[in-house]
């Protein structure tokens, strides 16, 4: 892309640090405390490396690092721009939080194969960072696939029959879409454009016929299955068999956000928003994902399993982010991009609360939550905060992004989208608020009555979720680090 570039090994370091920690994890597998210490140290180191790049980016530069050439003209190469760093910051920061949470969760449930769990978790983070820092579609695909494969042992951690069938669906959807659609799309792109490097205004403009562009667009739309756009959303609710920290970080943040990140990358830097707009593909995109937004919320209303509800909520919210590529306006793009962070903090709080309820009360169903707020006040208060943030109620972070999206849809003269957003918000409140209400003000359910031992679980679990709940509040008042990055990115695309 056409910005000042400086070469630095930092993106590689950030990607490799979690991998190095695997070695230490395996070596110290007999001493659990040491093993977990490595994870935490690695997460801190990774985050500080990522954070140290922020300053450079604020000055309008980008960081690049070329690793190896795999094909004449195609490299495995890193290139950190504001958008990538934005996503990387979120993932690496939440890895720290979830590492603490994992310790509490895995130990309190006495889970098996914890070494394997921490090792693959690190691989997943590493590949999520790889996705964030990719400088071309090839590198992106590389890390995208590694992310799919390395999360399989995490999703099927329980190794029982349910895990087996969910694992099949998980891989079936993700590998299937990537091999059948994503890979051909990349190859065709390369064939037509002669390059795969991301560029500010896309690389396909004028390189292929209109029909081909539309075809490629559809291939990408369905090929990046991690974004869970309907009809390829089936894997996400099934992936909830995983231990809760996995659902929290991977299926609220790293994996699914990697999916929407890839989608946006492709629309912004492969097609270019202009091209999408000229071919009216942006209109198609926003109405197509609107279906997912509404249906996702609708399905969430019907769920009784907490994690399943959260999964459908995630499906719906992910498509908000994709709106960024379709709302051809400054605030639309900004809102979509910022929503990655806002939703990330809110949703991870909710998932961690679900895990906390499981550890503290052994309850998975919403219908049995009556009165639990009185026994586990911190958890349920955090749940309340997270829910408000995800629904987009001020003064929580989620409001910001929804506000921008709404502004964007007005700027783009897409009034129906505004209606979609408002309807979805109402539905969000419709499935979150009853949970909060019955847990604080409802009658004690059978399970709560029967079990006098229900109380807040270990501080390792409660502290992280309280922390992220507060962050989703704080981020409303102090969103600048993220907003500024998002602005740099969106302006660079709009302005150039």
């Amino acid at each position: 892309m056409d910005m000042e570039t400086i070469t630095s090994i930092k993106p590689l370091l950030a990607t490799v640090t979690p991998l190095l920690c695997i070695l230490l994890i395996i070596l110290s597998r007999r001493i659990p405390n040491l093993r977990e210490l490595w994870t935490i140290i690695a997460s801190l180191v990774t985050f500080s490396i990522v954070a140290s790049m922020v300053k450079t980016l604020y000055t309008g530069k980008v960081i690049a690092y070329k690793l190896v050439e795999v094909y004449p003209g195609i490299d495995v190469a890193f290139r950190v721009d504001a958008f990538g760093l934005f996503f990387a910051l979120l993932s690496s920061f939440l890895w720290i939080v979830v590492s603490f949470y994992s310790i509490g969760y895995m130990r309190s449930l006495n889970e098996h194969s914890q070494t394997r769990y921490y090792a693959f978790f690190a691989v997943a983070i590493s590949s999520a960072l790889g996705v964030a820092f990719s400088s071309n579609l090839f590198t992106l695909y590389l890390f995208y696939e590694i992310l799919t494969v390395c999360t399989y042992p995490l999703v099927t951690h329980n190794q029982d029959n349910e895990a087996r069938s969910s694992g099949r669906i998980y891989l079936g959807y993700l590998l299937g879409t990537s091999v059948a659609f994503f890979l051909p799309a990349i190859l065709f792109t390369y064939y037509f454009a002669g390059t795969l490097d991301f560029s500010l205004h896309g690389i396909l403009n004028g390189k292929a016929s209109n029909g081909m562009i539309t075809f490629l667009f559809l291939l990408f739309l369905f090929g990046i299955g991690k974004a869970a756009i309907m009809p390829f959303n089936g894997w996400l609710p099934r992936a909830m068999v995983a231990p809760t920290p996995v659902s929290a970080l991977l299926h609220a943040v790293a994996v699914v956000k990697a999916g929407v990140f890839c989608q946006l990358r492709v629309y912004f830097n492969i097609f270019g928003v202009e091209l999408l707009h000229n071919q009216n593909l942006d209109i198609f995109l926003i109405y197509f994902v609107s279906i997912t937004i509404l249906l996702g919320s609708l399905f969430a209303l019907k769920q009784d399993d907490i994690k399943a509800m959260l999964a459908y909520s995630t499906i719906s919210q992910l498509s908000y982010i994709i709106l960024a590529a379709g709302l051809y306006s400054y605030h639309g793009m900004l809102g979509g991009v910022v929503h990655i962070v806002m939703h990330g903090f809110g949703k991870i709080t909710l998932f961690m609360c679900a895990g906390s309820i499981l550890c503290g009360a052994h309850i998975k169903k919403i219908s049995r939550l009556g009165g639990i707020g009185r026994r586990m006040p911190i958890t349920m208060l955090a749940f309340f905060f997270g829910a408000l943030s995800v629904a987009g109620i001020p003064p929580f972070g989620g409001f910001m992004s929804k506000w921008f999206l709404a502004l964007g849809s007005i700027e783009a003269h897409q009034w129906p989208i505004l209606v979609v957003l408002l309807t979805s918000t109402l539905m969000n409140l419709g499935y979150f608020m009853p949970v909060v209400f019955i847990s604080f003000f409802g009658k004690d359910s059978e399970s709560v009555k029967r079990d006098p031992d229900i109380r807040e679980p270990s501080p390792f679990i409660v502290a992280p979720l309280a922390f992220t709940a507060l962050v989703s509040l704080a981020i409303f008042f102090y969103p600048y680090p993220f907003i500024r990055l998002a602005e740099i990115f969106v302006k660079s695309m709009m302005g150039g």
């Binding site: 190896v68 050439e69 006495n110 098996h112 590389l142 694992g167 299937g176 091999v179």
Partner: protein, 496 residues
């Protein structure tokens, strides 16, 4: 010594083979180190040859000092020096690996086994190095005869399967010989380079055309190209583990090499491609072979037989790449010769380790294999990902070139076949992984990761080659750009 390197590559295994039975009579245990010694020397000289070719270009080595076309010459160019290294190093790895297996499966026969093992390697190397059609036939027969014997001493119905293989193999070799005779009759020469000079004037001749047909049919039998593949699954399933690990990856690859030589060196591409519809026929056969191979593989319950059908499908990849008749396609085919040799070797090495440790090659014997044999199964996971075509494993890159070549040739059906086979490979691979990962006694959630570790891994002599091949699969992927730009691009005929 370096002047003589081309011949030393072949002479070391040959001469060591003559001594092996004598050593065996004297002290049986000496055979193994002796074989390793011979193959290491061969590998070293093959690498020297490769370096020489890269530095100074094509090497012409006149055997006995007689100028071609009167005498026999070895012509080492980029294509075959690369394959020489591949053949020599894989044989060395398989030889290391064979130590325990030969003792286990064929006790008291080590000396003869290793003699034939070396002769087999000699045959492969001779086929690859020579620039003379009849000399190629002689070495083809050495390889075949050694192969028959090595396979016949397997378990179960191995002798009968070998007999069928022998009959088919003889027909193949005879057809090849007939093709040599036809070309000799109209040109008077047996030297490949000489023939390629003379033949363009004779392209109108029916004799030349029939010669090409018989060459291709003969070679197709040897490489088990659909529909001439019937001998392969039985033969390689019942063969001793060390044999199938040596023969399965190499015999077929060497045959593909011969096919490339005939189509692109002996005949000019425009004859094989434009005057005769060779590429069309090969293209269709490749598509059918790929689909037939993977679908049949899906139905197998015997892992070795499953791998055999995967091999048949993989042959389709290479033949299809040859049939694309453009630069990218042929690059993909040549790259896939290397990648597939590594992958198939790895598969059969895993099969051997499983046979050695779990006592059979039925798929159900793999239950809980991840727990018992974590390293072998990790290698299997790597090769599985490579077969599916997940980057950065090498299988992805050959697929990449093949698909780009197919786009250029507008051979859409081949692309569909490639992608479909990836998808089916994924199912296949996860079918095995599921069995090996879930097992039966895995519902025990309270089992701590530290307890219950019943690792029962294969011996080091098996694990080292396995690890090396698995690593090679990843490295070959990462450095495939270097391999292509450094070696393979010179191996592809310049006029393509």
């Amino acid at each position: 010594m370096t002047d003589q390197a081309p011949i030393l590559v072949i002479l070391f295994p040959l001469m060591f083979a003559f001594v092996t039975p004598l050593l065996g009579w004297w002290k049986k245990d000496l055979c193994y180190p002796w074989v390793l010694c011979g193959l290491s020397l061969s590998t070293i000289f093959s690498i020297i040859t490769l370096k020489e070719v890269l530095n100074t270009g094509v090497i012409h080595y006149h055997l006995g000092g007689w100028d071609p076309p009167w005498g026999i010459e070895y012509v080492i160019d980029h294509l075959n020096s690369f394959i020489l290294v591949l053949v020599a190093s894989i044989s060395l790895l398989v030889a290391i690996y064979s130590k325990r297996l030969v003792k286990e499966e064929n006790p008291e026969k080590e000396a003869y086994f290793y003699t034939l093992f070396l002769l087999q390697v000699t045959g492969f190397l001779g086929i690859v190095a020579t620039g003379d059609l009849f000399n190629l036939y002689v070495f083809l027969e050495i390889a075949s005869l050694a192969g028959y014997a090595l396979i016949a001493i397997g378990e179960g119905q191995a002798p009968f399967a070998t007999f069928r293989y022998l009959v088919m193999g003889t027909i193949g070799a005879c057809f090849y010989l007939l093709g040599v005779g036809y070309l000799y009759m109209v040109t008077g020469s047996l030297n490949m380079a000489d023939l390629s000079q003379i033949l363009p004037n004779l392209y109108h001749s029916k004799v030349v055309m029939v010669a090409l047909i018989f060459f291709l049919v003969g070679v197709a039998i040897k490489m088990a190209l659909f529909p001439l593949h019937a001998w392969l699954p039985d033969a390689y399933t019942y063969a001793p583990s060390a044999t199938s690990a040596l023969v399965a990856p190499l015999m077929t690859k060497v045959s593909v090499y011969v096919m490339i030589r005939i189509i692109y060196t002996v005949f000019k591409p425009y004859y094989s491609i434009e005057i005769l519809p060779v590429n069309l026929i090969l293209g269709w056969l490749a598509v059918i072979a790929i689909l037939y191979g993977v679908i049949m593989a899906l139905r197998q319950v015997d892992i070795k037989r499953m791998f055999c059908y995967i091999l048949i499908a993989e042959i389709g990849y290479m033949v299809g790449g040859v049939g694309l008749a453009n630069r990218l396609g042929l690059t993909g085919a040549i790259l896939h010769i290397m990648n597939d040799a590594l992958m198939i070797t790895c598969l059969f090495l895993v099969a051997g380790a499983v046979v050695y440790k779990l006592g059979g090659h039925n798929i159900n014997q793999l239950r809980d294999a991840f727990k018992k044999m974590p390293f072998s199964m990790a290698a299997f996971a790597v090769v599985g990902l490579s077969l599916i075509g997940v980057p950065p494993t090498c299988g992805f890159f050959s697929k990449w070139y093949l698909i780009l070549g197919a786009i250029e040739a507008e051979n859409w059906i081949f692309i569909v076949a490639l992608l479909l086979s990836s998808a089916i490979n994924a199912i296949l691979f996860f079918k095995i992984v599921e069995i090996a990962y879930y097992g039966e006694a895995s519902h025990d959630h309270n089992e701590d990761s530290n307890g219950g570790n019943t690792i029962d891994e294969a011996p080091v002599s098996i694990l080292i080659p396995l690890g090396v091949v698995a690593l090679a699969i990843i490295l070959a992927g990462i450095f495939s750009g270097k391999i292509v730009s450094g070696i393979i691009q010179f191996a592809v005929p310049p006029n393509l």
